[in-house]
């Protein structure tokens, strides 16, 4: 018989009130496939990352010290064009800097913009802004056109 009582809270198996980031990205990935009739697909990945804190690095001696790098988890949304030999590009990075989902940094390598996000509503708005940006739309349309052309060549 245990000699101590259970000190763990009872809600450990419950769902977090925030929508899990990767689940949100997975859903958006599925929407992209649907919106392009599966000509493009998107996949998501979660990796550890080490990201330079550029503004804090003042001289060379500090470059390799841990305090100048932010360690965390990055969730990536990558767009893939199967008809183009799985050509891919990374559309969105969500940099999660602690075990908590928020705050996080959202970065779009395509638009070269970064946002600080504190909750799911803001994240949804920011992702919508990135997806609807003219450059994103034109790039996606361009990839769809190139993919269709490749498919026609193969036929």
């Amino acid at each position: 018989m245990a000699k101590s009582k259970n000190l763990w809270p009872k809600n450990l198996d419950g769902t977090n009130e925030n929508f899990p980031l990767i689940e949100l990205l997975n859903e958006q990935a599925a929407y992209l496939s649907k919106s392009t009739n599966n000509i493009l697909i998107a996949n998501t990945q979660t990796e550890n990352y080490v990201r330079p804190k550029q503004k804090n690095i003042k001289n060379l001696r500090l470059v390799n010290t841990k305090k100048n790098y932010q360690h965390g988890i990055v969730h990536k949304l990558t767009v893939v064009a199967p008809a183009m030999g799985n050509y891919n590009f990374e559309l969105v990075f969500l940099f999660q800097e602690s075990a908590e989902s928020y705050p996080l940094k959202v970065y779009s390598p395509l638009l070269d913009v970064e946002y600080d996000v504190t909750d799911t509503d803001t994240l949804t708005n920011v992702l919508g802004k990135i997806f609807k940006d003219q450059k994103t739309v034109k790039t996606i349309q361009h990839l769809v056109t190139l993919s269709k052309r490749k498919k026609n060549i193969k036929k």
Binding site: P52, V63, N64, M84, G85, Y87, N88, L110, T139
Partner: protein
């Protein structure tokens, strides 16, 4: 350039004309070029004598483009064309810090392509000796083959593969070729290198035996047709502020170009 160097693949940055105009200008007779378009990359433009099927896109960002070159008789390799962030906006520490990102991308596409036959070429905006070009978490370039052929080194439990950077061989008056760099700048600053080798080619050790060392050059003229240098020996910036570089890969079979 086309007449004198007869490139199969031309990697250009900062083009002043449209790709269509360039294709028209460089194609004639036996040299027919395609524009191998990248829908994402805004800084690098690839023109080649091959259709996209021979060098399909693998991945890209705004500043670099990666293609899987699969030309008959040549070892299949990954070609990364890059125009890295300029020193006008980023100092060398910023540049070095960000090479971590490039390193991750290289690791990812090599894993995807299931080979490390990778050649990097372009304007790195860093000299071969700068931290970003050297550091294991960056481009990890080493200056001699005897180190490079060890393929990798281990730091803190993680293996980091080498690149061989042959561009070191061009430094100084006793270096290879008639010029000491691809970019010349005279700043009124305490530290100034004058000649810089920002335009570089780096290869993984697996490509060393296919790399034709004698053909690697910093181009300073197109024969008698055009001198890219002024009479003073400095770069004629009315033509281009950087000098181009060229390299060749040997055929698998007979070791010729």
């Amino acid at each position: 350039m086309i007449k004198h160097h007869q490139p199969n693949i031309l990697v250009l940055a900062e083009i002043g004309n449209s790709p269509a105009e360039i294709v028209k200008a460089i194609s004639s007779g036996e040299f027919q070029f395609n524009y191998n378009e990248d829908p994402i990359c805004e800084k690098i433009f690839i023109f080649s004598q091959y259709a996209d099927e021979w060098l399909p896109l693998v991945t890209s960002t705004l500043r670099f483009t990666v293609r899987a070159v699969q030309v008959p008789n040549y070892l299949a390799f990954n070609l990364l064309g890059i125009h890295y962030q300029s020193k006008m906006h980023w100092n060398f520490v910023d540049q070095a810090a960000y090479t971590v990102v490039a390193n991750n991308i290289i690791e990812k596409f090599e894993s995807q392509q299931q080979n490390q036959n990778t050649l990097l070429i372009g304007d790195f905006n860093m000299n071969p000796f700068e931290p970003g070009m050297i550091q294991a978490t960056g481009f990890h370039g080493v200056l001699n083959k005897s180190v490079a052929i060890k393929k990798k080194r281990r730091i803190d439990g993680k293996d980091y593969p080498f690149f061989y950077n042959p561009m070191w061989s061009f430094f100084g008056d006793f270096g290879k070729g008639p010029v000491s760099g691809t970019y010349y700048k005279s700043y009124a600053r305490p530290v100034n290198y004058f000649w810089n080798i920002y335009d570089q080619v780096l290869i993984r050790p697996s490509l060393i035996k296919y790399f034709n060392e004698n053909d690697l050059q910093i181009i300073s003229n197109f024969g008698e047709d055009l001198n890219l240098l002024k009479k003073s020996g400095l770069i004629n910036k009315n033509i281009s502020d950087h000098l181009p570089i060229s390299c060749t890969i040997k055929e698998i079979e007979d070791g010729k170009k």
